[in-house]
Amino acid sequence: MTLDALALYAAALSLLIGSGFVLVGVIGLLKFNDPMTRLHAPTKVGTVGIGMMLLGSILFASASGQTSIHELLIMAFLFVTAPVSAHFIAKVTIHRGTCETPPAPPKDDTWSTLNSPDDQTAD
């Protein structure tokens, strides 16, 4: 078995693993019954699912003789931005009050999402 054939097998295998993770994440997005719980499921889609598909794309390109690792750019970008957007969505959930109120912060602080400075000056 040549190296190219091995790379094609690996590409197909990583595509299958990636689609498995995509399916799990999306089913979780649909089935979970609390906004904060639902937030946790699609992170699998964004990291492992798409990461494996990009890995498959890299392996396929190297098997067809034009090796390139451009796809690592997309992977790095997704890995960096996924926590940021998840953080924003969690803040929206807290702001809208559609989840349990988070526990009180340490010391005399307040949650900036729940108690905005505007509210405190208005009091």
Binding site: G46, F60, L78
Partner: protein, 94 residues
């Protein structure tokens, strides 16, 4: 099974899975019930679209789809943050 056959079957399975993912996220987008769920569903749909574009690139053996996927990833992140900020602050750029 030859490697080419195995890869084409895997590409078809990945495409079917991603399309199913789009439909299921669309259902979550429609039924909500909160606005954060809708933002999350849109974010997942963008990520599934990146996956579809990549798998289409493997299927056709063309390299140009890399730029498309990168652009969708960047626009998807910006639109998610803009939507969340609009709900949080009532404004996107203050």
């Amino acid at each position: 099974m030859s490697p080419d056959e195995f890869l084409s079957i895997a590409v078809i399975i990945a495409m079917i899975t991603l399309a199913t993912g789009q439909v299921l996220s669309m259902i979550r987008f429609v039924i909500g019930p909160t606005s954060s769920d809708r933002i999350l569903a849109l974010d997942t749909m963008v990520i599934n679209a990146i996956g579809l574009v990549i798998v289409l690139g493997i299927h056709q053996g063309v390299k140009v789809y890399f730029e498309v996927a990168l652009l969708i990833a960047m626009l998807g992140f910006v639109s998610t943050v803009a939507l969340a900020r609009f709900i949080l602050r009532g404004d996107i750029i203050e």
